[in-house]
């Protein structure tokens, strides 16, 4: 196990290095300047700015400088946000997005799994159809529609919850629900399909023949096996939720990282683009590792020894 994890960590570092390099060169292909109103400046004025930020150096030199600083934990300073260090910027913005993502994941994931299980146990009943309907609606309607509807009816019309902003726990409820619709529908659909398949497999029939109770079969034998694909899907989904949703963050006025990331791309704020991308990549590889380790816990048949063997 330890050897496996160590090996994975080495792969992770290589992955991150590749992600950072590819992002760096792709980013340099975006036309336009990272400075506002750059077009208004004279040649000399432009060069003063470019020199200050090392942007007059050849791209490979800029790349080497960036990588060297990155290894030392220095992600540079933002062009758009008055030289704020990118690490400070990320640290301030990552919290709200992560809280929303986790809430949405817990709410959507658990409810989705529950819906999926019930639907599978009561196949072709009204419960099944209702669950399928919710899953289809959740998957096909974009979250900003839910967000808009929730905001208008629950907050503006009924006044039950605040319309927007980020000032306390009650402010997280509406955006979390809006964000949860997607993981909910994914979890429900996968769970139902897998459950149905597992319930039809030989070992379940054997368990039944041996006289195991209904609940023992459903929860202990079926659910555990059916969870594997769901965990596979929900892991990366959790990361994408935690890294913020531009739409939800805009509608509810949440100072998260999703909105900032898109803005940094639009504004050619190179250090912020790089920093955010690296952060996302780190989250993804870590979560993938966690998911792989979880497999072993859920299903002892999957042995994590020396990956390559």
């Amino acid at each position: 196990m330890a050897k496996y994890i160590l090996q994975r960590i080495i792969y992770m570092i290589i992955t991150l290095f590749i992600v950072a390099s590819v992002t760096f060169f792709l980013m340099k292909l975006i036309p336009g300047s990272p400075f506002n109103n750059f077009e208004k400046l004279s040649e000399v004025q432009r060069n003063i700015l470019l020199d200050k930020y090392g942007l007059n150096d050849p791209v490979p030199v800029q790349y080497a400088t960036y990588m060297k600083n990155m290894v030392q934990g220095d992600l540079g300073v933002s062009f758009q946000f008055d030289n704020t260090p990118v690490t400070d910027l990320l640290a301030k913005r990552v919290g709200p997005s992560a809280i929303l993502g986790i809430e949405a994941m817990i709410f959507g994931g658990l409810l989705g799994i529950l819906l999926g299980v019930i639907a599978a146990l009561k196949q072709n009943s009204w419960v099944d159809y209702t669950s399928t309907f919710i899953a289809v609606v959740g998957k096909s309607i974009p979250s900003f529609i839910f967000a808009g509807l929730l905001q208008y009816y629950v907050a503006v019309k009924l006044g039950w919850l605040p319309v927007m902003f980020w000032k306390g726990p009650e402010y997280t409820i509406l955006p979390s629900i809006a964000l949860a619709m997607f993981p909910l529908s994914i979890a429900a659909r996968f769970m139902r399909t897998e459950m149905v398949e597992v319930l039809g497999s030989d070992y379940i029939t054997l368990a039944r023949a041996k006289g195991a109770s209904y609940w023992q079969i459903s929860i202990k034998h079926a659910l555990r096996n059916a969870l594997i694909p769901v965990v596979t899907v929900l892991g990366p989904l959790a990361v994408s939720l935690m890294t913020g949703s531009l739409v939800i963050e805009q509608i509810f006025g949440i100072p998260g990282i999703g909105e900032q990331f898109v803005k940094s791309i639009n504004m050619n704020d190179y250090p912020v683009i790089m920093g955010t991308n690296i952060l996302f990549a780190v989250l993804f590889v870590v979560v993938t590792l966690v998911v792989d380790i979880l497999y072993g816990i859920i299903d002892p048949r999957i042995r994590l020894s020396g990956g390559g063997n």
Partner: protein, 564 residues
Amino acid sequence: MKKSKLSLLLVLSLVLSMFLAACSGGDKNEGKDKDGGKAGEEKLAAKQELNVLESAEIPTMDTVMGQDVLTFTTANAVNEGLYRLDPDQKVIPGVAQDMPSYNDDKTVLTIKLKKDTKWSNGDPVTAKDFVYAWQRAIDPRVAAPYGAYFMEGKIKGASEIVEKADKVTDADLQSLGIKAVDDYTLEITLEREIPYIESYLTFPLFFPQNQKYVESQGADYAKDSEHLIYNGPFKLAKWDGPTGSSWVYEKNADYWDAKNVTLEKINFNVSKDPQASANAFTAGEADITPKLAQAAILSQFEGTDELLSYQEPSIWWLKMNEKNPALANKNIRKAIALATDKKALVDDVLANGSIVADFLVPKGFSFDEDGKDFRDTAGTYLKADKKKAKELWEKGLAETGLKEVTFTYVGQDTETAKVTDAFIKDQLETTLPGLKINIESVPFKIRIAREDAEDYDLLMGGWGPDYADPMTYMDLWVTGGGQNHMSYGNPEFDKLIKAANEELQGKERWKALQDAEKILLEDDAAIAPLYQRSVNILINPKVKGFAHHAFGPDYSYQWIKITE
């Protein structure tokens, strides 16, 4: 999911382009805004606290480093320069005691400062604070994005300092045309007479900074509201730095004119989604929203006293690149300029109060000595006329020997821009036989890059003013000018601009600028103006005395009173 993210991205870039283009002015609801002085007649609310939404974070509060309208608006509220704009866009003294006194050729200004203005750390505001800030702004080692842009060619010595680039020394900075004669007397030397210098000095780049304080903070200066000092009507609080999505203005009891500041507190929050802003307004959680451009949202509030609508001095036009041989032909350019039904564009497509622009210098923006609008004494040009457009088009085609023409049209990728561009394409193609338009919708930064490289045939763009004078729109088009980017050149036009810059004064100068505008539009059809944009915001009717400005800061909050 993917699609939804994309469309919001478009909205975001629209918002960004809005504050990049900047500014406001020219009033529709005169009575509503300008009753600040009279508000006392109505009963004031017990709680003088306001909730305001902004559409972006404050990128910096270091006034020298500012280049964004929100920085300017905030700086104008929590700091103060020599002068400021009143609700009628008139220049009134701030830290200055009076209006400047001039030497004979109006190149040296002497300005006496008030002796009782204070920084929030207790230090007096002195002439040295201005000298320090100006020298910082021009210092190439500081690399203030707007410093050189605002000072070169205007403030004596600025160009020489900029040319030195990173070899500049502290001694070089002393040659900048600003001197502290004593603690309360400032002497400013200009390269040449600048007719609009007084309003120019209201710009936050020219605000004072306390050297002792700035240097004691080092890299932490302006990091957040705790690392700043203030000399304006309000003090900034609870601002977490450039990523902060909320902040507060608190009344500054030490402000010299504090007796005329009624508001105790303003709470600001960032809301980037226009419909969400409108929702927060409806729910009573906001008293003033950001600028809203979407017709669908505005229609919900049309005809109510909650909608404040006015024209800002932001002109949108179609640039025609004369590098393209077809567009080098005057008749073809004129045909394109005349072919679009601009009235339908503003009424049906934009539907947000924007007005038809048959001119280049916007309405309600620049005024002569008698207070007369530049537009009132100038003509209108290139009024839509499809029949004439077709005639000129055919004449132009015959002259160039072309039968069919295809133009690449570069537009922005916001929702509003896409609809506008599709409308114009349709208008041009149906009016002008043999014309084909290929629209390329690109993000703001890329549009700028394409314009810079002259990589387009037609390009939809706009311009907001940098100072309150028609010149900010006119000198863009001189031969080889930094903003021309369409290979346009006319010696006669250049001559008029040069004369207006260097020799002429008053009415004669005004006349030269109006003649230049006529050459540019009527004679040469160098550019096709389409519309002047309008600002729409939602504002609680109980809020009186809200002031908006034509350039620099968007708004002033200090004269606001909340009534019962």
